[in-house]
Symmetry: C2
Amino acid sequence: MSTRDTGTEQLIKDTAKHLFFAEGKLHATTQEIADAAGVNRTLVNYYFRSRDILFDQVFKEAQEGFVCTLDEVFESKMPFKEKIRNLITVFIKETAQYPFRQLFIITEMNRHVEMQAKKASPKKVQLFMKEVAEEMDKGGLKKMDPRQFILNLFSLMAHPFLTAPLHKVLFGMNDEEYATLMEDRKQLIYETIFP
Amino acid sequence: MSTRDTGTEQLIKDTAKHLFFAEGKLHATTQEIADAAGVNRTLVNYYFRSRDILFDQVFKEAQEGFVCTLDEVFESKMPFKEKIRNLITVFIKETAQYPFRQLFIITEMNRHVEMQAKKASPKKVQLFMKEVAEEMDKGGLKKMDPRQFILNLFSLMAHPFLTAPLHKVLFGMNDEEYATLMEDRKQLIYETIFP
DNA sequence: CTTTTGTTTAACAAATTTGTCAAACTCAAA
DNA sequence: TTTGAGTTTGACAAATTTGTTAAACAAAAG
């Protein structure tokens, strides 16, 4: 079966990603996705057979995209501090665009409990943890369990985006003001990690 | 209408909270809630009229419970550092029990966009921000936008619980090991905040 | 014991969401 | 222009989830 590529398949997938990751509509219906994409709902079935398959594809790509982005940073050969600064920049840029992507990954992991076991590709994580540990030995970093360091780093980067609606209310800020606050965090996180 | 109080109404509500906040089943169906509670599904309608009303009640109580817990800490008269240490202890204890509560609040806020405006009771937040600013002036705290400090604090406390399933896989840890890691974080967060 | 009132249950109806199918359509190739 | 493969659409069927009703049940009141 050849294809004419009207771009519809990609449009549906992109729209789904936008609803899930950017707007946080974690359980959007096929009708909502189709409406947002401006196409007939049936096309979701035509291109993806079922809602679940669309979800699975989006989920898979989300996970891969996330991992890829991080791998590029992790694998680059540069001094530790540079690498972290780079990570912060890249991560915050990505998260600003898709603040709910991790959330989606997490809630989907909750639904498919069975797959929690297999995925584990901890090699690169192990490698990064080793790098962190070495930096601690060198004295460039406060000594602690490297996993705690990683948790700190990702918490500081990701959480303010997840909780944006909450904090906008609490702080009485509009979208633009909050975006500025997030931009300022890049430097701040760096300074918090490296006092 | 008087009541005989068989405890069923409370049981349903508690079960819903457990599914939502502890297990992260953010969009559990009434049947799933009833099953988990071991009661007939119809009772959900008998006691709460509709699924939405149950959701709203649970959401409201979640929000109030969360705010109450924090208020007690914020309003206590004690030195700043003590207050923070107290906050960390209380918050982590609560979050360990209900790791997805904030998540629920956030995703529900996304659904009812209209109510984002009204809720704002920023008085206590303002007060706490002022307290943070004073502590910075005194030199007990690195100078920064108080909002950033608050974001840091809550990110460090909350996010590792939200992302627990993800990090258990990445670090290859079981539930117990991860719980220990979380317990250790209390002290670590304190030291990160007050270098 | 009977009645009354509140609770629980099962069967049914309504609403929502998803999946299927055939017909209509579009565009490139023959 | 005609054909044909892929695409889009609307109508319909199936599945899932929610809401309603009447009858069965349980416990306190009379």
